[in-house]
């Protein structure tokens, strides 16, 4: 996880799977929930492309609950409510 990217985490695997389908345009990669993020269902989505604003719009439009982090230099910063 060295390159800057976004990581989404979820309370439920069903949310993760549904979000993967909703965010196809962002080419999400299904990954295990990173160890640094203690909470989560086990699946997370890694998104290496796209702008934060566009992602925020797509996440909001999905109406699927998640936490979104920007990852830079190995550090996670939560960016969306």
């Amino acid at each position: 996880m060295n390159k800057d990217c976004f990581v989404l985490t979820f309370d439920s695997t069903h949310q993760a799977i549904a979000m993967e389908k909703r965010l196809r345009d962002f080419q999400p990669v299904m990954m295990p929930t990173p160890r640094q993020l203690s909470s989560g269902c086990g699946f997370a989505l890694k998104i290496s492309q796209g702008e934060e604003q566009a992602l925020a719009v797509a996440v909001a439009a999905s109406a699927i609950d998640c936490r979104c982090y920007r990852v830079a230099a190995g550090r996670y910063r939560e960016i969306l409510p």
Partner: protein, 197 residues
Amino acid sequence: MMLMEERRELNAVGWECPKPIIEAKKILDDMAVGEVVITTDSAVVVHNLQSFAQEKGFYCEFSAEGNMYRVSLQKQAMTKAETVAIAPVIVISSQQFGRGSEELAANLMKSYIYALTEVSPQPETVIFINSGIFLTCQDSPVLDSLLLLAAQGVQIYSCGACLNFYDRTAQLAVGNIGNMYQFVEKMNQAANCIEIQ
């Protein structure tokens, strides 16, 4: 090579976390084998040093005298087995990971193969057999992760008979085609062989 055992003192009286842990870590990182003794007046620091030691595999003991604590963190020489983990040969014999919900199993496989790109040691070889070969072909949901593994030097083989059976030979998108003799040899010679089915 003989390793000199060092013993260092760290006076952390009045310090709050995380400073004592950071400073202790710096000292331990610098020594191959040895001990750092931290003096602190904070029970929270003692607790956090114990957690830090447990996480990093350091031996930890402490003594209390009045309001002062002395915490000893000891770094032992690692055995060869600990320092040189054995790169496994991994055999993936299904498009999915485990039995149960197909949707879950497909996503577990994606998650597993993604994790392979990030953990150490990386596999020496990954062999795809039976429906596992769909993962190495065009339109595979894990193609990017497999291309990354290949670029990192992991050998990736898909079973030629399986590609032929499923009529996917022309769609192979990562790694090489292998045959059962190669696979048997690699599995037999592997010190660590893992099958994912």
